[in-house]
């Protein structure tokens, strides 16, 4: 009986069974928390006392909250400026893509920042930026410029942290492009050269199209990296001075989980907004993938 049922439905059941563990975990660890965030965002809850339903009040507050707009703006800055890692990585990769003695050592040295933990990167840059004792201001002082307080100045702090983040991210893009350059077809380069392409024209029309898969991966990891800016901000400024370097993810952590936080509802509301923003990006991304696959 059972074996008969199995035999008849094997084709349908087997994939379902293989998918089941993954789907279960996805539902429990991804879908359920997302729905729960939506639900919590409608409550006022400190994690200790019973939750009070407050309707959309958390959202209304959020849209009146100057800190929210600062964080949103910083998120945008991160997303846009972080993409600089792609051209920078490409430039270094092109520079290193030659055969001289010891090139492997140089390649590893350039890749080094990506191996270092983000926490260490944050600390190193904090010392580098130190307005009194830091290397940056010692250098600026040597050429007769006034010291700048990058991490303590609300108008410079986000740029300072992004610059710190670009250091390892550039290395990451570089290594992706280096592997990509290995698979560039020498015959096409040769053909281009015969047709008189040189320098930038060669790069733009012959090399870059062949590097498209690498560029695509670079773009994806850089966007993801920009959204993961949390650790650098936490290490370098804790969102300060007076909240001017916060991004949405850090603000959410601060109101919901930090020492002075525990407004779970408000934190969840921020999470929902952040989710919405990411959905726009992800939807666009999926649509492009779908289109490309149909085209191919």
């Amino acid at each position: 009986m059972t074996s008969g049922f199995w035999k008849r439905n094997q084709q349908t059941l087997a994939p379902a069974l293989f998918l089941a563990p993954g789907l279960l975990f996805f539902a429990f660890y991804v879908l359920f928390p997302i729905l729960q965030s939506f639900q919590i965002s409608l409550y006022e809850w400190d994690g200790l006392s019973p939750a009070q339903p407050v309707g959309l009040q958390n959202y209304r507050q959020l849209f009146d909250d100057p800190a929210f707009y600062t964080s949103l703006w910083n998120n945008l800055l991160w997303l846009v400026l972080y993409l600089l890692a792609i051209p920078a990585g490409l430039a270094i990769a092109l520079f290193l893509n030659q055969t001289v003695t010891g090139i492997r050592i140089y390649k590893s040295l350039f890749f080094f920042p990506f191996v270092v933990s983000q926490v260490v990167v944050g600390l190193v840059f904090t010392w580098f930026y130190d307005p009194t004792f830091g290397l940056l201001n010692t250098l600026l002082g040597a050429v007769g410029m006034d010291p700048v307080n990058i991490l303590g100045d609300p108008s410079k702090v986000t740029y300072g942290i992004i610059a710190a983040g670009l250091w390892p991210q550039t290395a990451y893009c570089m290594i992706l492009y280096l592997t990509g350059l290995n698979s560039v077809d020498p015959e096409q380069v040769e053909a281009g050269r015969l047709d008189g392409a040189k320098g930038l024209r060669m790069l733009w029309h012959v090399i870059l199209p062949q590097l498209r898969p690498a560029t695509f991966i670079c773009f994806v990891v850089t966007i993801i990296g920009a959204l993961r800016s949390f650790d650098l901000i936490s290490i370098m400024t804790q969102g300060g001075p007076f909240g001017s370097s916060r991004v949405l993810a850090f603000y959410m952590f601060e109101v919901a989980l930090s020492e002075y936080g525990f407004r779970m509802g408000y934190g969840a509301a921020i999470a929902v907004v952040l989710f919405g923003i990411m959905m726009i990006y992800i939807a666009g991304f999926l649509w492009k993938m779908y289109r490309d696959e149909r085209g191919a």
Partner: protein, 420 residues
Amino acid sequence: MPSITRLPLLAAALGTALTGAGVAAAQDSLSGTLKIFSDMSNPAPRAVMEGMVDRFGAMHPDLEIELTVIDREAYKTQIRNFLTANAPDVANWYAGNRMAPYVNAGLFEDVSDLWDGQIGEELASTKGAMTLDGKQWGVPYTYYQWGVYYRKDIYDRLGLSEPQTFEQMKANCQALLDDGVKCYTIGTKFLWTAAGWFDYLNMRTNGYDFHMALTAGEVEWTDERVKTTFANWRELIDMGAFIDNHTAYSWQEALPFMAQGDAAAYLMGNFAVAPLRDAGLDDSKLDYYQFPSINAEVALGEDAPTDTFHIPAQAANKEAARAFLRFVVSAENQTLINAGDALGQLPVNANSSVDDDKFLKEGFDVLSNRAPGGIAQFFDRDAPAEMAKLAMEGFQEFMVLPDNLDRILDRLEAGRQRIY
């Protein structure tokens, strides 16, 4: 079975009789496990905590004590989890409004019974800070004074003396600035240092009671009196009294400015003395004065953050926990743990003796005799956590961009109306 349980009792009784200590023979029947979660994770406090456990354990040989020391910062968020699930029998925390979320959620045990009688009198100075809803929720083990720590050698060189009034304070500051020395070092990266300045300026301008009403959310932040406090603060900011770029530094990173003589003073808690001494400032170069009076009509109030022990409501061995709390507050223990070679702070028990240290002695005098206005905990312990965060961010912004004051105060007032 009965004979087994009785045997150690007898031995313990015999032990106390032999040594003649006989402190509390009745308590020696404690048994089972006593779980203690502590946030005393820095080297010196950790040694103190372990020492207390050893001595308490020696008094109660049947009691098995499990001590878990958790990183002090991590503890602040972990306490929420372990109080609701898997509660220890004894836990560290802070006095004042910082207890309120746990008291309101019914997670701390009411220990008013411990405060009855003699103990209550000995700990009278912090009874107010341990009281919510007319009951006491824990016991203090240490506190420390705040005040201005200054470079005596620099003051002497310029012929300056410890200021008694705000006018003298500003005159001193001008003399220092003329000499190319900043008046005060401060690092506001983690915000709370700026709250120390606000606490003192507000208590000196408007008095302790007003300050307490403000932190309790009973006064509007846009009140004229609050603005007067900020106006006084602004005088110092406009003079250039504080070091530049303070937003980039933690409180420790601000210490070198004082150690190297680029700044002459530091408004800080007594814990700043140890690193300053390590940086080479001996007692001839480093001294302390109480924050001077600003408004002569208000009595002087002081900040003295108190660290405490509590019994979680879900504790399993409350009998042993109570005995431990009694042991912690005893005059003898408080003398020992607050000594200069241990915590280096002030004992709360009035019958304890203060270690022979210039700063501890003066701090003890200030808190006992020269703070008639009252003793506050500290801004982020007196105000609810959320308000504290919002306000301290405002203080930092004000120190950098004083022109933003009205916008900052509007924001704090909106916060006050929502939070309380």
